[in-house]
Every structure is written in C-alpha cells, then in structure tokens.
C-alpha cells in the first residue's frame, strides 16, 4: 500500500523530528492506524515532510500528527479510544498520550478521569495477576511438600520421578510468576506509577526466598543425578532471579532518570512550539 510505504519513509527520514513530537513505534501500528495517521497528518507523498526553521521543528508537523484528535471533536470517544488503543499497544508512550490529549485546550477533565481510571484498571489487573501467580506457585510448592512427606526414600525411582515432575511444575509456575510479576512492574512503570510500597514488598519477599528454593531444588537434583535422572529446575530458578532483579533495577533506574529529565523534557516541549 502506497500510504503505508510513504508513512514508513516519512518516519524513517524524519525519525528524530518525529520522535520529538510524538514517539511512535511504527512496528506496533496496524494498517488502520497508519491509514488514519496518513489521512489526518499534514504530510503528503512527494511533498517535503517537514522543514526546520532556526533549528526548531515546523509546527505543521506537530499539528499534523495531532489533527486526528481535533478532527473528531473534543471529548470524542472515538479519538480517545484510538489514542488509547495506540497507547496500550505501546505505539504511544504516556507522555505522548498526555501531550496529544491534554494540550488540546478544549479537552475536559472528563478525559483526565478516563485516563486515571484506565491506568488504575490496568495496574490493578497487573497487580491481581501477580497475586494469582504467587498463589499458583504456592500450590505447586505445597504439592512438592506433600510428596516430600512420603516415607519413600528420595533415591527410589518412583519417588525421584514424582518429585522431578513436581519440580517441573514449580518451574512452570515460576515462569507464570515471572511473566505476571515483571509485567506488573513494567505496567507500573509504563503508566508512570512509581513502584508502590506493597508491590516492592511483594517483589522483595518473592526474591528473598528464591535462593532458598533454588538451593533446596539443587539438593534434590544431586540425589536425582545419582539415580541418572536429569533436572535443570535450579538453573531456571537462578535465571528467573536474575531477570527479576534486572527488571526491578531497570524500572528504578528509569524512574530516577525520568525524574531527572522531567525539567529538560518540559523545556524541549516548549522549545518545539
């Protein structure tokens, strides 16, 4: 499709300028999104896409990418819904979304409420997913506890196979925990909510016990290995700890960096107008 190719070319050739006004990850856009942007943006194939005057970006570009929101009228559910669909797909970041919506003088506080509720809804869902995954992991460990209570020696073949199967389930539950937990933290960060005390506490509690779980699993694996039964669950637990710690550190660093850059962003924000 021509418009799609043109749009990609437009973004590619003007990436810096484009990102400065509305950072969009074009890989996440669907044809329909691109069509809307192309129809409403000022750029047209074959025409200069943007020009610079005195080192500042032509306001036409800013108007172009925003005109969609104006075109549909203020408080338009259609415009908001579209903005949110881009936002939730990761095509717009939160500051772009705010920029696109709040800088319209006639947008009402209703939109602020909508944004607030939507953020809360998403964060609450992510939080609830963390809780569910922790419960699920607990259930699998509870089953492993029951198996370990059996009078059968750990080195007996049936017992060894049974505990290995259960450890694999623990690993799968950890994978889910990993996904929800890291996803939850990611959401908190993405929507601009600082890591809440409770969320941080959960992460700390979860992380503080993983090394103990890893050591226990590793001891079982030594016994299994002596029976010629392979298992790599302890390695997987170790890997997940690393990923969690890395994600939490990244989120913390980015929050710090965001705070530091806030003033500079505001300056840039006004400089391009």
């Amino acid at each position: 499709m021509t418009y799609k190719n043109d749009f990609y070319r437009f973004v590619r050739e003007n990436r810096r300028a484009f990102n400065a006004v509305m950072p969009i990850n074009i890989d996440t856009l669907e044809d329909e999104d691109i069509r809307i942007l192309c129809n409403h943006a000022t750029f047209k194939a074959g025409e200069p896409y943007y020009k610079e005057s005195g080192g500042k970006i032509d306001p036409a570009i800013i108007d172009g990418v925003r005109v969609f929101f104006n075109r549909h009228g203020t408080d338009s559910p259609k415009a908001i819904a579209k903005a949110f669909s881009w936002y939730e797909k990761g095509a717009l970041n939160v500051s772009s979304l705010k920029d696109a919506l709040f800088n319209q003088p006639s947008f009402s506080p209703r939109i602020e409420n909508y944004l607030k509720n939507k953020r809360q809804e998403n964060y609450r869902k992510a939080f609830s997913d963390i809780q569910k995954s922790i419960v699920n992991l607990g259930d699998e460990i509870k089953k492993a506890v029951e198996i370990m209570k059996s009078p059968e020696p750990l080195s007996s073949k049936p017992m060894a196979l049974q505990i290995r199967a259960q450890m694999k389930k623990i690993s799968a539950a950890l994978e889910r925990c990993d996904k929800c937990g890291r996803g939850g933290l990611g959401w908190a960060h993405k929507v601009g909510i600082p890591l809440e005390k409770s969320s941080r506490s959960i992460s700390q509690m979860y992380l503080s016990k993983l090394p103990q779980l890893e050591r226990a699993v590793s001891k079982v694996e030594v016994v299994l290995a002596s029976q010629g039964i392979k298992s790599s669950v302890s390695t997987q637990i170790n890997r997940r700890q690393f990923l969690w710690r890395h994600d939490i550190q990244m989120a913390k660093d980015e929050l710090k960096s965001q705070a530091k850059n806030k003033h500079k962003q505001q300056e840039d924000h006004y400089a391009i107008r």
């Binding site: 559910p77 908001i80 819904a81 209703r110 409420n113 909508y114 607030k116 509720n117 939507k118 809360q120 809804e121 609450r124 939080f127 609830s128 963390i130 809780q131 922790i134 419960v135 992991l137 607990g138 460990i141 509870k142 492993a144 506890v145 370990m148 209570k149 020696p153 750990l154 080195s155 809440e196 409770s198 969320s199 506490s201 959960i202 509690m205 979860y206 503080s208 016990k209 103990q212 779980l213 050591r215 226990a216 001891k219 079982v220 016994v223």
Partner: protein, 52 residues
C-alpha cells in the same frame, strides 16, 4: 470500561480497595515463603535420612 461511564469515581479505585488488594497479595507472598521454608526443611531432612 465504556467511556461514557467514567464520570463518577469507581469503587475499585478507592484507597480502601487498593489496600485490600495489596494486603491480600502480601499475605499470599508470606504463605509462599512459609511453604518454601517447609519444602526446604523437608529436603534437608529427607537427605539426612538417606545418608544415615
């Protein structure tokens, strides 16, 4: 959540609702920790018995 229904504050977003959610999640995390302790002790016990 339909756009037209968001004018009035929603209960699930109240501080109270958040506190309950956080409290439950923390409780589950504590339960998980107890289970890991129990599993760990049982593993040690079992291995000790094997070595005797």
């Amino acid at each position: 959540m339909p756009f037209d229904e968001v004018e009035t504050p929603q209960d699930p977003n109240s501080k109270e609702a958040w506190d309950i959610l956080a409290k439950n999640a923390l409780q589950e995390a504590e339960n998980l920790n107890s289970l890991i302790d129990e599993f760990s002790s049982l593993v040690d016990l079992k291995i000790k018995q094997e070595n005797q």
